[in-house]
């Protein structure tokens, strides 16, 4: 009888599977992703390598010495140890991450606009005390501009009423406001000494959200040629909430990681962060094969660093509050060794 190996489901629960079952999940994951994203499935060598990583009972795994990558660590800190700058110092000095990110708990550029001076002061103190690069991060979060949270008619209410033109116009109007707010916050953070700006979970509200991130990125790049600009995505696929928006003449709705990367590069981004969400009902083996298959076409053509989102519900790391180190380290190793990525 084939022995069972302890492994994880996408929700973090511990299960036992045979090597054959893990192999089958890897194959099914890559096939599902290839079909969905119109990408090539992983090669047999790549699947065999993933099988070696995932059909192991070791409680931890790691890359070979010399293959280490940069950790940009969006959302640095716990928010509950000392103050925010001490949080950054802890991650710099105890954990050893490579970039730390200052952020506030209401992780949205619109929310930060109202207290940007205090955020800038925190950035200035952080820059005095940290040696690591310190970037500032938040979500574009386009939905915040729609009623009842914002002034714009709510496109999610207009669409079910078949008011498509009104819904599109609302998103375009919100997009312009968001671009202005990202620039406003970024300008203040640059004045306070930031090394970079992170637009995290970009595209969460669809193609208009992504367009705002790209537009703001291009404007910031023109103003600050040296500035680190990271655009991390919300998911593997850009939702067409508007459906017709374009950047450089290309329709954003429906873009998968390879095209997302091309847009971020064209906008002048420094780092592109693909995100592939977890299916909690499938194994981590199934999920990692799916995520790598979807991101591989982007990693192959990238001219800028690719920092994959690998944590708490994305990139092969289970959707749970305390992601197990066995699952996290396997995802970490898999992305580095299969895709030759530049960081997380």
């Amino acid at each position: 009888m084939e022995p069972k190996i302890a492994t994880r489901m996408g929700d973090g629960s511990l299960v036992e599977m045979t090597r054959s079952e893990i192999k089958a999940d890897l194959e099914e994951g890559t096939q599902q992703a290839a079909k969905r994203a119109k990408a090539e499935p992983l090669t047999q060598d790549e699947l065999d390598h993933l099988l070696d990583i995932y059909a192991s009972s070791a409680r931890f795994t790691a890359v070979d010495m010399g293959d280490e990558v940069v950790l940009s660590n969006d959302g640095t800190g716990t928010k509950h140890i000392g103050n925010r700058v001490q949080d950054l110092q802890t991650f710099e000095q105890v954990l050893g991450v490579d970039i730390v990110e200052l952020w506030q708990i209401d992780y949205s550029y619109k929310a930060i606009k109202t207290n940007v001076a205090h955020e800038g002061q925190a950035m200035k103190i952080a820059q005095m005390l940290c040696t690591n690069p310190v970037q500032y991060g938040a979500m574009p979060d386009l939905g915040r501009y729609s009623k009842p949270d914002g002034p714009i008619p709510n496109w999610s209410e207009l669409l079910p009423l078949m008011k498509v033109d009104e819904a599109r116009a609302a998103q375009v109007e919100a997009c312009a406001m968001l671009v202005e707010d990202i620039n406003y916050v970024a300008d203040h953070m640059v004045e306070a000494g930031t090394d970079g700006i992170d637009m995290d979970t970009t595209g969460a509200a669809g193609d208009a959200d992504f367009l705002a991130g790209l537009t703001a990125c291009r404007m910031l790049r023109e103003k600050y040629p040296w500035l680190g600009i990271e655009i991390g995505m919300a998911s593997e696929f850009v939702l067409g909430m508007h459906g017709q928006l374009e950047f450089d003449g290309e329709r954003l709705a429906g873009m998968w990681p390879k095209d997302q990367l091309r847009m971020v590069q064209a906008a002048g981004g420094s780092i592109y962060g693909p995100a592939v969400n977890i299916n909690t009902g499938r194994s981590t083996a199934w999920n990692i094969a799916r995520a790598i298959t979807m991101i591989k076409p982007a990693a192959e053509i990238a001219e800028i660093p690719v920092h994959v989102n690998v944590g708490m519900g994305v990139g092969g790391v289970p959707t749970c509050v305390y992601p197990p180190a066995d699952a996290t380290s396997r995802a970490s190793k898999a992305f580095v060794e299969i895709l030759k990525i530049d960081g997380y």
């Binding site: 931890f60 790691a62 890359v63 010495m65 010399g66 293959d67 280490e68 990558v69 940069v70 950790l71 940009s72 710099e92 000095q93 954990l95 050893g96 991450v97 490579d98 970039i99 820059q127 005095m128 005390l129 940290c130 040696t131 690591n132 690069p133 970037q135 640059v190 004045e191 000494g193 930031t194 090394d195 970079g196 040296w226 500035l227 680190g228 990271e230 981004g269 420094s270 780092i271 990238a302 001219e303 800028i304 660093p305 690998v310 944590g311 708490m312 790391v317 305390y322 992601p323 180190a325 996290t328 380290s329 970490s332 190793k333 580095v336 030759k340 990525i341 530049d342 960081g343 997380y344």
Partner: protein, 109 residues
């Protein structure tokens, strides 16, 4: 989770040369291999030294790039934090925003 990532595949931040390689990715949009080669060239070491805290401790002290202060090793007489970033900017030949603003605000610019 971050602890697992740093141990599984992280460069090590300022324990090694992770912060320096990160700066090349951010500032010059360099991919990892190019960024590591650039930093090694500027430091006069091998790419393999960049992940090695033993090798990097000596290099960071010699070039004033900042080291981690902890129980058995503190260096109050060496460059650290904002001071170290002046030296990192010079060594890597890149602008560091807070360093440029520091210079301008104290009349060194």
């Amino acid at each position: 989770m971050e602890g697992a990532h740093t141990q599984a595949s992280g460069m090590g931040g300022m324990r090694t040369a992770g912060d320096l390689v990160a700066r090349m990715q951010m500032t010059r949009r360099m991919r990892l291999k190019e960024a590591k080669a650039y930093v090694a060239g500027k430091l006069g070491c091998t790419v393999r030294d960049l992940f090695d805290p033993t090798a990097m401790e000596e290099i960071r002290i010699a070039k004033g790039l900042g080291t981690l202060p902890f129980t058995s090793s503190v260096r109050p007489g060496d460059a650290g934090m904002i001071e170290a970033k002046f030296n990192i900017s010079k060594t890597l030949d890149i602008p560091i925003n807070c360093v440029e603003r520091f210079k301008a605000r104290v009349g060194l610019g």
